[in-house]
Symmetry: C2
Subunit: 494 residues, 2 copies
């Protein structure tokens, strides 16, 4: 049936089309059914709401902003609507819940339907539960990864070697990406780096870079940036890479569930979609990290198995995840650390610098830009020479940002409070999750200049009255709330 599109500027969190109830009946559609909407150029599967009389005519269809954006349609244009076909993929999800293993075509059907919006969030929740409770074989995970890549956009660069790095996260700051990308692209490597925004942390790389440059691009623009300056630091969410993955993550967040299969496929799919050939994966482990040592080793071996099936050169490095890396926690405060390292400030955080050099060195070695054991030396030369800072600046400019008025941009939030040591002692524990939660209480990542600055690391001696950390907030209320939170959870034990 052909209907006239009407925009209500309504955002519903999912594609919703509103029909007159008579029109819905004529189409055999009920409230909450799924239907397919087509224009000449695009199609999308939507959820049906209905109205009785009133503000939508029988020959009209009101489209939520999610649909308007996806179809690129203007009000007054006509669209075709039909009931969505039955989805066999539901049955495959049911099979997985029962404990069967899924062959490739079934995994593709599920992922295709998720990407096409043909499965509801509840149906995706069943799929996530199935992966979590029943587990997936390496072959299934490899198929899942392939399916995510093939049902999304790809970057299609021409380079033979494309390098990438990834950390499974969980460690506050640990903001090595901007440094590694600047160093490795200075050495001539291509690094089309996509990053996430914070989910449970105080900042993601995308949040940090956004302080000085745009990070949301369409894939053709990303390609231009990478072709021009060799690399980028952009948000992965707007590119259409592995769209099913984004939808799965959205449903996972409701319950903080992250099945291993999905964790692995999600990471590898985003890398494959940009054409990465050489990947360095950082798995920080430790008591308050995402994984402890034994799980880290298991996860690494699973990653290795799957990379082999996918014919990817994947190197894994297990790193110390026992404490935050760098001093700042929050977008602006983390960017301060990065800039201070790039411009070779004396008081720049050494732990972050050393980790970035080590990761860069490994990437330069596996991509044959440096001989074995020579990678770190080359990386440090590039950093010391100022080339990395110059490249960083180039990338920021290519993304439409700049480093003008840097001091102002790097100014922390206006309200602050120092937390002091109450006795002479030694730092015994710094809990990663509590530090991240503290920075979030202070306002990060929404308030970009909010967060915390750490002065001490594990095993350091402290004297009574020494500064342990400073909390920065944009309002007095948030500052007070953060301080109360600090007292309650005690993230630092000494």
């Amino acid at each position: 049936m052909r209907l006239k599109a009407k925009s209500l500027k309504l955002s519903a969190g999912r594609p919703v089309a509103i029909l007159h109830s008579d029109t819905a009946r004529a189409l055999g559609l009920h409230v909450d059914d799924r239907a397919k909407i087509k224009t000449e150029r695009a199609k999308i599967i939507v959820l049906i709401d209905t109205v009785v009389g009133g503000f939508i005519g029988k020959n009209e269809i009101a489209l939520s902003e999610e649909i308007v954006k996806s179809l690129g349609i203007r009000a007054g244009k006509f669209v075709d609507i039909d009931p969505a076909p039955a989805r066999q993929s539901i049955h495959y999800i049911y099979e997985k819940l029962k404990g069967l293993s899924l062959e490739k075509r079934k995994i593709f059907a599920i992922i295709q339907d998720i990407g096409d919006n043909a499965l509801s969030e509840s149906e995706i929740a069943y799929f996530i539960s199935a992966m979590y409770t029943r587990g997936m074989s390496s072959q299934e995970i490899a198929d899942l990864t392939h399916a995510m890549v093939e049902t999304g956009s790809k970057l299609n660069l021409k380079q033979k070697i494309i390098a990438d790095k990834h950390s499974i996260g969980g460690i506050p700051n640990n903001r090595t990406t901007p440094l590694v990308v600047s160093i490795c692209t200075s050495a001539g490597l291509t690094m089309p780096k996509t990053s996430s925004r914070a989910i449970t942390s105080a900042a993601g790389t995308a949040d940090v870079i956004e302080v000085i440059a745009p990070v949301e691009f369409r894939i053709d623009k990303m390609k231009k940036i990478v072709n021009k300056v060799g690399g980028c630091m952009v948000w992965g969410g707007a590119l259409g890479l592995a769209p099913a993955d984004d939808k799965i993550i959205q449903v996972e967040r409701l319950i903080s569930l992250d099945p291993e299969a999905q964790l692995i496929a999600s990471i590898l799919a985003k890398k494959l979609a940009v054409g990465s050939t050489h990947i360095l994966l950082d798995i920080p482990f430790g008591k308050s990290a995402k994984v402890e040592r034994v799980s880290a080793l298991k996860l690494a071996s699973k990653f290795k198995e799957i990379a082999k099936i996918l014919k990817l050169n994947l190197q894994i490095i297990l790193t110390d995840g026992s404490q935050p890396i760098g001093n700042g926690v929050g977008p602006v405060l983390e960017l301060r650390d990065i800039i201070s390292i790039l411009r070779r400030d004396k008081n720049a955080p050494k732990d972050l610098e050393n980790k970035a050099i080590m990761l860069s060195g490994r990437i330069l070695e596996i991509t044959d830009r440096a001989k074995k054991l020579q990678g770190e030396i080359l990386a440090r030369e590039i950093l010391n020479s100022g080339k990395a800072f110059k490249k960083f600046n180039e990338i920021i400019r290519a993304q439409g940002g700049n480093l003008d008025n840097l001091n102002k941009k790097l100014m922390p939030a206006k309200f602050s409070c120092n937390i002091l040591a109450e006795k002479n002692s030694k730092i015994k524990t710094i809990e990663n999750k509590k530090i991240a939660a503290l920075a979030r209480r202070a306002g990060a990542p929404a308030d970009k200049a909010a967060g915390i600055y750490l002065y001490k690391h594990l095993d350091e001696e402290v004297k009574k009255g020494d500064k342990l950390l400073t909390v920065y907030s944009e309002t007095k209320d948030k500052l007070n709330e953060a301080i109360e939170f600090y007292k309650f959870v005690k993230p630092i034990i000494f």
Copy 2:
């Protein structure tokens, strides 16, 4: 914040409130967040959509029909809206997915939140998956049952003995309820029977009774009916009994998953909510029934365990589920069978009559209306005397229906086609699911007079040219589609 309610007559399948985006921001609410809406008398948790400018003002809130109905509010009235509090129950669902067992207070928190609409359908899907993949102990199922009852309405009758019957379903027709209720209430028992509509079958008891009487009542009206005539045959969905159960079932249907824990709790909760003290549970078993013999025995023993914890007098009867019981399949066609038995027609289906007598007899015995082994005799007397038919008529009238113009009401759909035996043989198999699916293709239960009429039973001799069944449809298209379907699935093998 206090906002002016606006009705768009919009049905969204879930309670959706639409705010101006500035208003949402002021409340700290984002698209898809949950918020609590209150009037002086009622409250409900809703999902937030937003609009930019245009048809909703900053001091207005548009409410979907689901909210308007639940709050009983008129447009122009004011409501209070606040962000919904954090839901600890999500964490308990996560624990169950991990495989932990849940203590009573955690199960109550989950069920309370589901009943209050504070958990999304995706979150309910996680709970269903957890029950399905991890299983639940008898104690957990008993707690689940209690939680469902306590978070809903109750009937609160004064009688000491309240009888009920239930079949787990899966057998076409098998419409014993109207007969059992008429017989047992004739003997003085109280039977406040609630029934379902068809989900995957061709008719539920509610669909059948609706041919001659209303079946949707509020609980106070149901109470009046039962107090007047001793029993009722109403739809369970409008009464507010165990509301969390209805929501769980809605999400289960997406994937046709029915975890044992939920199956048991769902049945027992509806019975407890109407105050049932003596329950007869019919578990038909067989190759094309819901369960085969071994599973039926297991299920029966699980039911027994839980009934013991709940201190319920539950009797279980395993019956032959190898074929449909009765001749008609579809609301009108099943009602024909019932009426023919009640008025003692010679050609009334004996299998249905005998099963109804047997079930009635058991109920009369366990409630001490009849001595051991005397129940069936009493039941048959009541049926033969015409008392049961009289009582049936009373109940129908109490529900606002009548048996006037019965021949017209019992007329099957206008298009029909006989399916004949192609050879001399014996009926070897009649597949329950395929028979139900065939009647649905013909139009049942939406077209009340559509369905099929069966002439033969298992092991009966047939001669070439004998009628096997008649298909009835309201349109030629549906009739043809049903006949094609018959040829394709072959529900009867001989």
